[in-house]
Symmetry: C2
Subunit: 132 residues, 2 copies
């Protein structure tokens, strides 16, 4: 009986949970598989939509703009478009987006240190993304 009640309120408590755990708060913003990858690819500066697509070959176009729009509405990236044809649209990190650099950089460093034989390839990739 008690356990059922408890379970039923789990979802109701969710809004409360992210108030007590900072990492939960972060996950609500950049949780999931793709967002950190997209953000990492924007660390090196503004990128066009097509550039992003090319640098993340395994993402589908639908999922890419879907996440870009979410990131935009969460104010982590800024979309800029020039009214030309063919369209010219760039995405860049906002201020709070740029503030994620230490997070993403720590991830990349962990990958270098914990990926065994891939670490060399990773450290080559990281040349483009200075820590500061």
């Amino acid at each position: 009986m008690a356990s059922i009640k408890e379970a039923s309120t789990i979802q109701e408590n969710k809004s409360l949970a992210f108030v007590t755990c900072p990492v939960t708060f972060v996950m609500e913003k950049i949780g999931g598989y793709w967002k950190p990858i997209i953000l990492f690819n924007l660390l090196s500066g503004p990128k066009r939509y097509s550039e992003l697509k090319r640098s993340i070959p395994t993402i589908t176009e639908k999922v890419l703009i879907q996440h870009l729009k979410q990131l935009e509405s969460d104010h982590l990236v800024v979309r800029r478009s020039k009214p030309v044809v063919p369209p010219y649209v760039t995405y860049e990190l906002s201020r709070s987006g740029k503030a994620l650099r230490p997070v993403l950089y720590a991830m990349a460093e962990w990958a270098v240190a914990n990926s065994g034989k891939f670490s060399k390839t990773f450290s080559r990739q990281m040349k483009d993304f200075p820590a500061a």
Copy 2:
């Protein structure tokens, strides 16, 4: 025609993709909503299963052990059990799990800096998780 071929090979290329992007490698290990939250709760030291459950009230038991087992098979956490009854099982970070501290800590710091009115609550939480 060409676009169809391209799309079809996206999934096949996935194993290749995480070789070129360090963050993708990380996401394959700790991607998703719950894993970083669990790992963060283990930063302060070994915890019993029931302790974890209590400190992450919004997770269900099924999902909790499910992820604990995945984290264990990825060698990020270590499970220790005493053969007593009632059972006494603890989970703690492995060496590479502990190496995630900078990642999780950077997340928590970002939350403190970018959560507005919740930042005070978060910084209280962070007292328990020293950076070093």
